[in-house]
């Protein structure tokens, strides 16, 4: 059977890790935002952020500035879960958005996620579902669990002050479900000071958790 998702180029996060386009991916955990922001930084085109007012209304462009141009973001508020899912389907189906971020309190069920999945296959974009509370069994391609990691012990605060380049924000990204491929854990680091050649955006480093 032909698999329509295959014909889209996957989004490469690191050499070994990529996210399939034309698919919907789920992200849980307190630091799910970090996943969405880092992935968004790797994409081009518009980013449509869909959710209830309390989820979308708290986003600030000042923090996004450090990773990508906030003018790319299109905020969409739905007044109910149904409206949010409807909007997500519309956006995924069109080819207008490079990334669609959907914020839900409870993850989509099989029917809902299948609908989103079909829409994503049609549009060829990338869908991320940020789940605040609990996920359900769904048709998503992958599921990630993201947690912030404490980057400093009390002991090396002073050391970090001495050399801010060592001062990083850290997260643990855990791939808990993958329909095609392995699962795994990654430690993601991002220096607090903007680095990179141009100093415009912050560099992101991903290291497999075993290596970190």
């Amino acid at each position: 059977m032909e698999n329509p998702g295959v014909r889209y180029e996957p989004l490469r996060l690191t050499a070994e890790l990529s996210l399939k386009r034309g698919r919907v991916h789920e992200v849980t955990g307190a630091a799910a935002d970090s996943f969405a922001v880092m992935v968004a930084a790797k994409t081009s085109g518009s980013i449509v952020w869909i959710g209830r007012a309390r989820a979308v209304g708290t986003l600030t462009p000042m923090a996004l500035c450090e990773f990508f141009d906030p003018a790319r973001v299109l905020l969409t508020e739905g007044s109910s879960r149904k409206e949010v899912l409807w909007a997500a389907e519309q956006v995924l189906r069109s080819k207008g958005a490079g990334l669609t971020v959907i914020q839900l309190a409870i993850g989509p069920d099989l029917i809902e996620s299948r609908r989103l999945q079909l829409a994503a296959e049609q549009g060829g974009g990338l869908g991320l579902i940020l789940i605040e509370r609990s996920a359900q069994s769904s048709a998503a391609q992958t599921r990630w669990h993201c947690q912030a990691l404490p980057n400093l012990n009390v002991a090396n605060v002073n050391a970090a002050n001495a050399n801010p380049a060592n001062d990083c924000d850290k997260w643990m990204w855990e791939l808990t479900k993958n329909k095609s491929g392995n699962i795994g854990r990654w430690v993601v680091k991002c220096p607090k000071i903007r680095g990179g050649r141009h100093g415009a955006t912050r560099d992101v480093h991903m290291v497999a958790a075993t290596a970190a």
Binding site: M62, A97, D167, G199
Partner: protein, 527 residues
């Protein structure tokens, strides 16, 4: 054939506009005001206001002194002109040769038209009647020249006799008893004429035009000879504004989905071909459906980009039209294109530079914004826009995505005080890095949420927020921000601390430093 000109004067146009809007104040002591000679003055008065002793030209304070219960409304010149333009379009039914006579009149060349209505008298009567049906007061004068018709309409008509017609080549006769102001000359000249005892136009006939010109200027003699037909003064017609609206009357009410779709198809096709021909796109379309039992229902849709594509318009109307309850059918439909903007076709070269794909994606996105906006409301599809403020909650705002045509410029990096220039420079001084991290802003900004302190400290060493316990490991701060001095409550200071907890959560705490018993709030979560 001798030229015949008809002048239509609408003496109460601003008042009539309020009547048409259903303003209930018209029946009371009410006046329209305008800024004249550095004062707000009455220009048009309701009948009751006139009988209360008010007169046009009075300043508003004077009028209030005479009649304290006077209600006023500023004149809206733009809207009044729009109404006048609409009436000009309507006047096409009288003559094809029409000019606007701003601010409150129309000038029609009716040569060879009158016999279609059964003579000029019948034509004028019909026009006055039709204006009255539209709740508009009209006075009409007809003569051989523009000037004469203008004078007759304004100075020979009254509320009881709204029509004044001068027979062909009798203008000189009919004008002679009118005051000199009827020549439509500057008030200064007419005042000069009155001062020397020349009160009526007839008195001017006896004076040689050379002498008149020497004493009062060429303008007077020009006006006079134009009014008497000795100098040419043609009506220069203005084309009616194009209307992008279509209407459909049906002999019997319809209610079936397919029938409605067919009506919609015909209406959109008719409008969209006109729009396309003129290269104009509309951002809004309004469809009025008149049901036989429940009256008018107006369905509106919007577009993120100006659009003249009939297919898109139909698609956006499908859903709201489907939701409309039509019990006994509808027999009258009208579709209007609103918020018109010219569409510029991009040269092929530029499209090539932009990349056909990027352009297609932008077009797709506009389509999505349209779809989302029409269902969720355009106020719920938004974009960030920068604002100039030092307060975290005022540093940005959001604007409707459908309206944001211009490219918003975000500073690539916010002004970080003392940020090291070379990112790889090994040892920026402590103070520099301190300030740099202090200026960091959270990804999520909450309305301050009270936390309960478990182990006090500055900031608290351990606290509970949203039913979870947090233990502070590091804290950066305070960043003290005062509110903007030009706002109320300027004296409120806020201290912000960036706190990292044991579990790795990075929160932004806030407190009011002036308080005796410190209350702590969570205002944000860093990435």
């Amino acid at each position: 054939m001798a030229r015949r000109v008809m002048s239509i004067w609408l003496p109460q146009l601003p008042l009539d506009r309020r009547v048409r809007l259903g303003d209930p104040r018209i029946g009371d002591i009410f006046a329209i005001t305008a800024e004249i000679k550095n004062a707000s003055r009455l220009t048009h008065l309701s009948p009751l206001a006139l009988s209360a002793g008010l007169r046009p030209g009075m300043s508003v304070p004077d009028a209030r002194a005479v009649c304290p219960q006077l209600m006023t409304e500023k004149s809206d010149l733009a809207r009044e002109e729009m109404l006048l333009r609409a009436l000009r379009r309507w006047a096409d039914s009288l003559s094809p040769w029409i000019a606007l006579d701003k601010p409150d009149g129309l000038m029609l060349d009716v040569t060879g038209c009158a016999h279609l209505f059964g003579g000029e008298q019948a034509m004028a009567e019909q026009a006055v009647q039709q204006f009255a049906d539209m709740h508009i007061t009209a006075r009409i004068g007809a003569a051989d020249t523009k000037g004469a018709a203008w004078a007759l309409a304004r100075y020979l008509t009254g509320a009881s006799v709204p029509i004044a017609i001068s027979k062909p080549s009798k203008a000189k006769n009919d004008l002679q008893n009118l005051p000199v102001e009827a020549l439509n000359i500057e008030p200064k000249i007419s005042a000069d004429l009155r001062r020397v005892g020349l009160k009526t136009i007839g008195q001017l006939y006896a004076i040689k035009s050379g002498e008149l010109a020497r004493r009062f200027g060429l303008e007077l003699t020009k006006a006079l000879s134009k009014a008497l037909g000795q100098a040419p003064d043609p009506v220069s017609p203005m084309a009616a504004d194009p209307v992008y609206a279509a209407r459909m009357n049906l002999p019997d009410p319809i209610g079936l989905k397919d029938d409605l779709a067919e009506v919609l198809r015909r209406l959109t096709d008719s409008i969209c071909t006109r729009l396309e021909k003129d290269m104009i796109g509309a951002r809004q379309f309004h469809l009025t459906v008149r049901c036989v039992d429940t009256g008018d229902h107006v369905i509106s849709i919007g577009f993120a980009r100006p659009c003249f594509d009939a297919g898109k318009v139909k698609r956006q109307f499908e859903r709201p039209l489907d939701q409309l309850t039509i019990k006994f059918g509808a027999d009258w439909f009208r579709l209007v294109a609103d918020t018109l903007e010219p569409i510029r076709e991009r040269p092929a070269k530029l499209t090539g530079i932009m990349g056909g794909e990027a352009e297609a994606a932008a077009e797709d996105l506009a389509q999505v914004i349209t779809t989302l906006g029409n269902r969720l409301g355009f106020d719920r599809v938004r974009r960030f826009a920068p604002r100039d403020s030092h307060l975290p909650e005022a540093e940005f705002t959001t604007i409707e995505a459908a309206d944001s045509q211009e490219v918003l410029l975000w500073k690539q990096s916010r002004p970080h005080i003392g940020r090291p220039n070379a990112p790889d420079s090994p040892n920026p001084t402590d103070s520099q890095s301190q300030i740099d991290t202090q200026r960091k802003r959270p990804l999520r900004l909450f309305r301050p949420e009270r936390l309960s302190t478990l182990i006090p400290g500055r900031p608290p060493k351990a606290f509970e927020w949203r039913k979870a316990r947090y233990v502070t490991v590091t804290a950066l701060g305070p960043e003290r921000l005062a509110s903007e001095w030009w706002q109320d409550g300027f004296d409120s200071l806020k201290d912000y601390w960036a706190v990292e907890t044991e579990t790795g959560d990075r929160l932004w705490l806030m407190t009011y430093p002036a308080q005796q018993q410190p209350n702590w709030f969570v205002t944000g979560r860093f990435l």
